[in-house]
């Protein structure tokens, strides 16, 4: 049965590999994505001002659309997921605001849509054992550090995907693929997020701390579920910052769906492994690096 799927803007542009690998993985697992019709941007940030109802119109529209396709939609983008989940929680707390928005959008939302992150569905409905059963090329020996970032997990009482301090969903996903999961202390630190636009040095430093920690913990790659985390972590390794510091050794930053696609035996046009700044093939000095070994096995 197809799953309603909201890609969002990033996955249609800069994070195309996430979208392509995600759709292919879903199809391979027998629950193909069906794109939410007539979708638009989620708003990209959840407004933190107390009376900024205007900023919630975008998520309200998406929730209304979700309602019309059966009341449930899936996201891959951690930011879209974050915004939609929090908007939902906000409307639950403040039905008056929702009424005002409904009056404005003329696309009434009844407050009952369900938004899931794809990881959530894999864990709760598909099951990791079932994922393992589908694995054709187990990623044995590949040491991957699961990197959650912040938006996927926090605030815990509104997002509720996982324990914000000791998350496990991405760990379990990687383990199901046969990876050696590398736990590292920066797994749910912030990458600097949107500050990449206004203060690029800050996310660069934060991202480099994250990468350095994963590297000293012995990781071959970092897996993420967020296009902005992927962007920041990947770019931090390309650009020499204003202080002249380069990133040193590099680590490939991969979407969990890319690793799933590799493990499920999908082709390179799906896995999209060479699209990023840090090429997983080149980052280990030769084409016989651990990622390659798994891919060619």
């Amino acid at each position: 049965m197809p799953l309603s799927y909201f890609p969002g803007c990033s996955l249609s542009t800069s994070a195309k590999t996430y979208d392509v690998s995600g759709r292919a993985v879903a199809a391979e697992l027998g629950t193909p994505f069906e794109e939410l019709p007539d979708w638009q941007c989620c708003g990209a940030t959840f407004p933190l001002a107390t009376d900024n109802v205007m900023a919630l119109i975008a998520p309200a529209r998406l929730l209304a659309k979700t309602q019309r396709v059966g009341g449930h939609t899936t996201t891959l983008c951690a930011i879209c997921y974050h915004v939609l989940k929090r908007a939902q929680a906000f409307f639950e707390r403040d039905p008056d605001a929702l009424e005002r928005i409904n009056w404005f959008t003329e696309e009434p939302y009844d407050g009952k849509a369900r938004i899931s992150h794809y990881l959530e569905l894999l864990r709760d409905e598909y099951g990791w054992d079932a994922v393992t059963d589908k694995v054709r090329r187990p990623l044995t020996g590949l040491r991957v550090a699961p990197y959650y970032g912040c938006l996927l997990l926090r605030p815990e009482n509104e997002i509720g995907l996982d324990d914000a301090d000791e998350p496990s969903v991405l760990h379990d996903c990687l383990a199901a693929l046969g990876c050696e999961v590398v736990d590292f202390p920066y797994g749910s630190e912030c990458c600097g997020s949107y500050l990449a636009v206004s203060q690029p040095d800050l996310p660069r430093q934060l991202s480099r701390d994250i990468i350095a920690s994963a590297r000293t913990s012995g990781a071959d790659a970092i897996a993420t579920a967020c296009p902005l985390c992927q962007y920041n972590l990947d770019h931090a390794q390309k650009i020499v910052d204003s202080a002249g510091t380069s990133a040193g050794e590099t680590l490939p930053i991969l979407y969990f769906t890319q690793l799933m696609a590799v493990a499920l035996g999908l082709g390179p046009e799906i896995t999209g492994l060479a699209h990023d700044i840090v090429d997983p093939w080149l980052s280990h000095g030769s084409r016989e690096g651990p990622v390659t070994a798994s891919v060619s096995a």
Binding site: D165, E166, P185
Partner: protein
Amino acid sequence: MVERVLIIGGGIAGIQAALDIANSGYEVVLVEKEPSIGGHMAQLSETFPTLDCSQCIMTPRTVEAGHHENIHLYAYSQVESVSPSPDTDGFMIKIRRRATYVDWDVCTGCGVCQEKCPFSVESVFERGVGTRKVIYTLSPQAVPNKPVIDADNCRFLQSKWDIESGRVPAVDKRGREAKPKCGACALFCPTNAIDWDQGDSVIEEHVGAIIVATGYDLMPLTELKEYGGGRVPDVIDGMAFERLLAASGPTAGKVLRPSDGLVPKEVVFVQCSGSRDPERGVSYCSKICCMYTAKQAILFKNRVPDGQAYVFYIDVRAGGKGYEEFLTRAQEQSGVVYVRGKVSKLFRDDGKVIVKGVDTLSNRTIEIAADLVVLATAIVARDDSAMVAGQLGLETDHYGFLNAANDELAPVESTVPGVFYAGTALGPADIPETVAQASGAAGKVLSLFHRARAAESEQVTTNETCGIGH
């Protein structure tokens, strides 16, 4: 009126109340769950703001309570049920005395069994930074100074029960009869005090009043996930640090960190770990942490003069006689660095504990590579309090602390006639406040007994007058 009182809990509150009442000539039944009395105060190294040795100022009282002719001490025991007395007023109490497997009447407290016992387990009293034997007393100054056997970890008892229940065949393949293993304590005991067949016993007492002094617990580190959730070995709570500082503790008063036994040079103290945190912990202030953190920082600097202590605080609450001066001493004489801000996260990295926090005065984030982190964890209600509250029909607040009849004007009285409170079962309190409450509760009990006596004698006098006059 039955002029006897039951005191539940043998910490400093229960001890103080027991002595006040016993010294006034009334009988006290003192029930303590642990093998010996003294409670949390017996775990402390020094007390604030005087830096008195806690054991030294307390031992005269524990000893007096242990030997007082008016105090019936039931250690290693728990109140099983409370019911109204059928004939007169007061309460009928059933007390379960747990099996100690040591005949305390025969035991001389020589300690040979503890020396000879080959098995050690983590000690709750040492708060995870030390071990104890399977046959043990809480401390060398224990009152009563008689050991108990921890049956769950005792090789002899477990193997004995395995044989008795048939989990292990009575005769092995070679035809040898199965025998319980170990038994070193019994072998070496000079008075044959080990009693392997001892079971729990239940005794009944009749009392006219009850003082509930069940004390507090500390929030477990596992609940503070952003602070490592108890998985980082060099992140300990304040009570564990007390044990490291205590001369009778596992390190004989040397500050050695748990992971590798080295002397920590950079120590970070985090106040309000779980307290004043409605989002993830408890909303209330635990009241004693500002002062004991200052004390611990001073004592650390005494023990490790070339060390550096940092204290993260939200604000410092030093409302008490000599408290503010004590705090100033920590900052000015001991050179403790106070950082106003919260620690957001800490984790282990290459033998250090990386502490990430913020200094809200300079508006900068701070990162300290610490050797040891001491969390001033929140004071929380004991599970026992809820049990006792249920037995007695007492009210608790939603944190599980007991509710006084009136917080302002009846702070040690409950809503049940004849039942009084003392100490941290009511909520966070320091030692002076606890002792004041205990004496207050004792005073309430004494006045109850005296009122009853006065009423009785008045009745007698009235009757006599009637008899003579008419």
